[in-house]
């Protein structure tokens, strides 16, 4: 059945992405701040199985890079030393979710080799490692912000739809105000009003808060619609006739009708909000160095020479496509599933 396939594929992809990002320390050969000043803008390392002498190795290996005397911005491969790739190695220490310490990495290479799966940036930092760590920030920001928007939308839409009257008018007009501004402009306006220099954690919370808070209007409107029709149902009138309080009605009868909408809205918002965080950081208003975010990985592309010469800096942007695809597949599947069980 095509429907189940969509959901399955989407969920599997999402699961894989989240696992990779959560265990970034394990999957990444290097830390996100580890610099290799002598190797700025190094291209992605090539994996070899056959060495310069024509011998075949069972274990893949890489060659170290050295400065090219002829070209100050290029590199030559030093084919004299083979640096085998090892798996399950001990490397730089890291913490999973800030709690579990470990030194295990999925793979690494012997000195003096370096394995840059996605090349390096201006400071010689491994882009692949930074991509994984950056995912922690961007994904978490998107998730939290979407949760915030939906929660806010639920409260406001619920109150608005249930009580009606002037509360409804005021809240919906307020929502219109939020919808009247192009959201990216609104985002910047609010960001501008907030301090530029704060601790990283504070800036992160700020971004989550701002992105989440400006997006409540659309979910609120949809939830309000559901609440409006749900509260007129005969079983709600009956429950009122048994002496039910408003809170009871909302909790037991009205809001459960909105769960479908809430879920679809949430899953649609997550990728949008991830993109919002990426855009903010890309333009310089996100969490600062050295903590990476997918946006900061891409910000160097604003310079022509980077864009033109170092193609691997593009990779994080390309990787965003399958990630968003996974979210949209899952969201689509959720929507279809809910349509089929609507009473």
């Amino acid at each position: 059945m095509r429907r189940n396939h969509k959901l399955g594929i989407g969920l599997v992809m999402l699961g894989a992405i989240h696992v990779a990002v959560l265990f970034a320390g394990f999957f990444a050969p290097y830390g996100f701040a580890t610099q290799n000043r002598e190797l700025p803008f190094a291209p992605p390392t090539r994996i070899h199985f056959v060495d310069a002498a024509g011998k075949w190795h069972a274990r893949p290996f890489v060659y170290a890079l050295g400065a090219d005397p002829a070209n100050p911005e290029g590199y030559v491969t030093d084919r004299s030393v083979t640096c085998p790739v090892h798996f399950w190695v001990e490397g730089a220490p890291y913490k999973i979710a800030g709690v579990f310490a470990s030194r295990r990495h999925l793979f690494g290479v012997e000195e003096p080799g370096r394995i840059f799966v996605m090349g390096t940036d201006a400071y010689g930092r491994d882009q692949f490692s930074r991509f994984l760590f950056g995912g922690q920030l961007s994904l978490l920001a998107g998730l939290l912000a979407a949760g915030l928007s939906v929660a806010l939308g639920m409260v406001i839409g619920g109150v608005s739809g249930f009580y009606g009257g002037w509360i409804d008018e005021i809240l919906m007009r307020g929502g219109e105000l939020f919808l009247a501004l192009p959201w990216l402009y609104l985002l910047f306006a609010v960001r501008a009003a907030l301090p530029l220099h704060a601790s990283q954690a504070q800036i992160f919370l700020l971004i989550v808060g701002v992105v989440g808070l400006i997006g409540w209007a659309r979910p609120a409107r949809l939830i309000r619609g559901v609440v409006l029709s749900a509260k007129e149902r005969n079983w709600v009138v009956a429950a009122r006739g048994f002496g039910a309080s408003d809170m009871y009605l909302l909790r037991r009868h009205v809001l459960p009708e909105a769960y479908g909408v809430i879920l679809t809205q949430g899953t649609l918002l997550i990728p949008q909000y991830i993109l919002a965080e990426v855009t903010l950081t890309f333009l310089g208003l996100g969490v600062g160095e050295p903590m990476p975010s997918w946006g900061s990985l891409l910000s160097s592309l604003q310079q022509y020479y980077v864009l033109a010469s170092y193609w691997w800096m593009f990779l994080p942007a390309l990787l965003l496509v399958p990630i968003f695809l996974a979210f949209y597949l899952a969201a689509d599947a959720v929507q279809e599933h809910l349509k089929s069980v609507t009473l």
């Binding site: 149902r233 005969n234 079983w235 009138v237 009956a238 429950a239 009122r240 006739g241 048994f242 002496g243 039910a244 009871y248 009868h253 459960p256 009473l343």
Partner: protein
């Protein structure tokens, strides 16, 4: 010692108007649902209120059940005016006066299972422990002819007739003294109708319940009602004991209704023609 009133409900001068505000023009669109309604409902008996759609019967019924508020008049239940009742009083009054809807499919929340549906009023009225509530629910299910094995089934999986029985069981759960059935049987097929009527009849005899049936079907009502009140365009035009109404109808409208009722013989005649 005050003698017990033979009438459990006395309605005096009741009136209700629905006002619809048209947006952006300041006109108000008024609909007079009913006016100047005076009724006395005998204790332990069955009153039927008949009339065509739009006559105001449902609005009257909802006011009786305290689901809506009338604009004028009084409803005296056991002597006290329930229209003016405080929140606290209304809470316990809901235990005494219950209401069953016409629409079976929307009468109960399809997401709730049978036990949840029936125990909801018990929960809200805080009657009994969880175990007692569940026991009562199962007992009621049996009384309305539903199998206790279906206790955990969601209401979604019940047919229209079964849901109506669930709704009736729910209304009976709090042991009301007055049951208002708003065209509750109209959407059921005959076997289901008869089943519910039998159950109600049995309960009425055992517990001296008072019923108010709202219906548009004069003939059906004649089977079980003690008294009949005819409503037309928001006013009660005639109110008599059933036999008297059928034998000596006074109002022209009543006579119209009686004449419009096809007798069994005439139906058979038409069919064979």
């Amino acid at each position: 010692m005050k003698a017990t009133d033979s009438y459990i409900l006395r309605i005096e001068g009741l009136a209700k108007t629905y006002v619809q505000l048209r947006r952006f023009t300041r006109e108000r669109y008024k609909v007079r649902a009913f006016e100047n309604v005076n009724l006395s409902i005998p204790r332990g008996g069955t009153l039927a209120i008949v009339g065509e759609s739009g006559a105001g019967k449902s609005s009257l019924a909802r006011c009786l059940a305290m689901l809506e508020k009338p604009d004028e008049g009084e409803i005296r239940y056991e002597g006290s005016n329930i229209v003016r009742a405080s929140r606290k009083d209304r809470f316990s009054l809901h235990r005494d006066i219950q209401y069953v809807f016409q629409e079976a499919m929307t009468a109960v929340n399809p997401r709730f299972n049978a036990v949840e549906v029936i125990t909801e009023p018990l929960l809200l009225q805080r009657m009994g422990t969880k175990a007692e509530q569940r026991a009562r629910a199962l007992e009621l299910m049996r009384q309305v002819g539903l199998s206790p094995d279906d206790a955990e089934k969601p209401a979604l999986e019940f047919s229209g007739g079964q849901r109506q029985r669930l709704a009736t069981a729910r209304a009976l759960a709090v042991q009301p003294k007055v049951l208002i059935l708003d065209e509750a049987l109209s959407n059921l097929d005959l076997p289901n109708q008869e089943l519910i009527l039998r159950i109600l009849d049995d309960l009425q005899r055992r517990h001296a319940l008072t019923y108010v049936h709202i219906s548009h079907d004069l003939r059906a009502v004649s089977q079980f009602a003690d008294e009949v009140a005819v409503m037309r365009e928001g006013k009660i035009v005639e109110h008599k004991r059933t036999a008297d109404l059928f034998a000596h109808p006074e109002h022209a409208y009543t006579r119209e209704l009686l004449e419009a009722m096809p007798s069994v013989e005439s139906i058979l005649l038409q069919r064979s023609a």
